[in-house]
């Protein structure tokens, strides 16, 4: 098997707040190979974005990484010094955020923002000329499927539509993403037809450049056509990992099954049932499997011990005691 680009093992992240300690991430694992497209699905507050921020080390000041490793190309990101970390961010990995309007500074022209990034990532050692930087910026916009790149460079973000803003963000991330691109709900704030367009364009760009991608979404359908491997997160834990087709045809974790059932179908069939119960609070969260309180087949064991990921073949792993025992 090709060497893993990114290997997250047993990640544990807590947040210190007035009410106590928010024990958000527990035992999170993630593997992304070179040129591999991986998706993470889960509902709001399940820790998908927190995991990504941990990988890029942009967590909030009250975050405590209490355990685990994040191996990027062999070296542990969590142990890197500031210099190495900045080089990593400028030349190797990048992130696209959910709301392109918030990701762009409204008082600067798009060109100024993009050229700044180009200067830091493309020309790390030599001092480039203005024309070189601008040419590079134009090239990036073109590769993000933006027409009239010159005009866009001279526009302010508010003059562009939502879809164009998101493409600009994609272009910006392409400047620094040579190996890994993290896309956090890139289509959520866009209309369905525009989201469809952008995702197709992104897929093409990613494949052309041979990038690895981590795509996060709470829209399960949007993820399906894009990634080859899927992770399912619940309440700060990874509950299932499988190749895309396998996950949809054979979901095994009770949460995954319920989640897939809860999506309304275009073919009809009535409104699905939700999942009984509530997402637990991260302050009072119990030990053991975090889904146990809402699981219809929970055993005694489930409430006391946190299940590790059991391998059930076909590249399919599930963190559930019904599929293994230690």
């Amino acid at each position: 098997m090709a060497e893993q680009l990114l290997e997250v093992k047993d990640l544990q992240v807590n947040f210190k707040v007035y009410e106590g300690l928010l024990r958000v991430l527990k035992g999170v694992f993630l593997n992304v190979g070179a040129k591999e497209k991986v998706g993470i699905i889960g509902e709001s507050g399940c820790g998908k974005t927190t995991t990504m921020k941990a990988i890029m080390r942009i967590l909030a000041a009250n975050a405590i990484v209490a355990g685990g490793t994040i191996a990027y190309r062999g070296s542990d990101v969590l142990q890197l010094g500031m210099q190495d970390l900045m080089r990593l961010r400028r030349t190797s990995m990048s992130m696209i955020f959910q709301d392109p309007t918030a990701a762009l500074n409204p008082v600067f022209k798009v060109g100024e923002q993009l050229e700044d990034i180009v200067r830091y990532s493309e020309f790390t050692s030599d001092a480039p000329t203005k024309q070189e930087v601008r040419a590079k910026a134009v090239e990036l916009l073109k590769s993000a499927a933006l027409p009239e790149p010159e005009r866009i460079l001279d526009s302010y973000p508010f003059q562009l539509s939502g879809g164009m803003r998101q493409r600009v963000c994609i272009a910006m991330s392409l400047a620094s993403a040579k190996d890994l691109l993290i896309a956090d709900e890139p289509g959520t704030s866009l209309d369905v037809t525009i989201e469809d367009q952008i995702m197709r364009e992104l897929k093409q760009i990613v494949e052309e450049r041979g990038l690895s991608v981590i795509l996060i979404s709470h829209s399960i359908g949007a993820v399906k056509g894009f990634v080859t491997k899927l992770y399912v997160m619940y309440a700060g834990t990874m509950v299932e990992e499988a190749p895309t087709g396998e996950l949809f045809s054979n979901p095994v974790h009770p949460y995954t099954q319920n989640l897939l059932k809860a999506v309304p179908k275009l073919t009809g069939g009535g409104v699905p049932e939700g999942i009984a119960g509530r997402i637990p609070s991260y302050i009072t969260i119990a030990d053991g499997c975090r889904f146990a309180s809402r699981c219809r087949s929970a055993k005694e064991r489930c409430r006391t011990d946190g299940p590790p990921a059991f391998d059930i073949g076909n590249g399919h792993r599930v963190a559930c005691f019904h599929y293994g025992d230690i």
């Binding site: 947040f15 707040v17 007035y18 009410e19 928010l22 909030a60």
Partner: protein, 286 residues
């Protein structure tokens, strides 16, 4: 409907994120305490009024008179303590007049945005704001007989538009929020919407401004007294004391310096307290 009591522990935690806010609270509490109990704790309470003791005049600070005495032999420390009363009274009276008036006008202008009501209120506020504050206060005071009361009226007259503006900006932006529309659709009266839906959302900025303003009102009041348009002798107003003592600088420096320092202290205290109040209402980030 009953409301669960506010979490005082959490509020204190938010307030005291910066320990200086606690310092501010302490200073303001001290000033208030001294002002209220001045007759009981001042070493020479009778010096606060008309009093003359020439042999004791111009004594530099010593153990009998901690801040020294002025040209009439009056104990500076005692007069400062009584001076706090006038300063705080200025703040309390002015703000009690200005805040309700300014806030209500701002709420109404924001609610009836786009109509005649808004125009009248906001352009009225603009007119008062166009005149430099001290100039306005000075002109009023010089036309009327200078007195503490008139100084307070003059300051009030120029202070209310700031609250109207502050509240108007919040009120007019909240006016079109879905929760206000929902209240209208439910059938709520404009009174309910203005005072029960919109006003609670303005309290944070209002309270922060009130706290910070207290210091500034006191300063303006002292400035008026300094030029002779506020409290008249023998009232121990801090500003008057500074101006009186200025005649004796630099030899008898204590007569001016100590009142001036306490003015600085009071304003600093309110500023620090205001920072804390602002932190109290700041939005939380997880």
């Amino acid at each position: 409907m009953s409301r669960r009591g506010p979490d005082y522990g959490k509020s204190w935690h938010k307030f005291s994120k910066n320990y200086l806010s606690q310092v501010g609270l302490g200073v303001v509490a001290l000033v208030a305490f001294v002002a209220i109990f001045a007759p009981y704790i001042a070493p020479y309470p009778s010096h606060a009024g008309f009093f003359v003791d020439y042999p004791e005049a111009h004594e530099s600070p010593n153990w009998v008179h901690i801040f020294g005495t002025d040209q009439f032999g009056r104990d500076v420390l005692s007069r400062i303590m009584f001076g706090f009363r006038y300063s705080l009274m200025m703040a309390v009276v002015v703000l009690s007049l200005v805040v309700p008036l300014g806030v209500v006008l701002g709420l109404v202008a924001g609610y009836y945005r786009g109509g005649k009501v808004e125009m009248i209120i906001m352009r009225g506020a603009d007119i008062f704001l166009a005149v430099p504050p001290l100039v306005l206060a000075l002109s009023i005071c010089s036309v009327l007989t200078p007195s503490v009361f008139n100084a307070m009226m003059a300051v009030s007259l120029m202070w209310w538009p700031w609250y109207t503006r502050l509240v108007y900006s919040i009120s007019s932006s909240l006016r079109n929020e879905p929760f206000v529309q929902a209240a209208e659709i439910a059938g709520a009266s404009p009174f309910h919407i203005i005072f029960r839906e919109i006003l609670p959302n303005c309290l944070g900025p209002i309270l922060t401004k009130v706290t910070l303003d207290a210091g500034w009102v006191i300063l303006i009041g002292a400035s008026l007294s300094f030029v002779g348009l506020g409290a008249q002798p023998p009232i121990p107003d801090l500003g008057t004391m500074v101006s009186d003592g200025a005649n004796f600088l630099p030899e008898q420096w204590w007569v001016s310096l100590f009142p001036a320092l306490t003015i600085v202290l009071i304003i600093l205290g309110f500023n620090l307290l205001g920072d804390g109040v602002r932190d109290l209402f700041a939005a939380e980030t997880v």
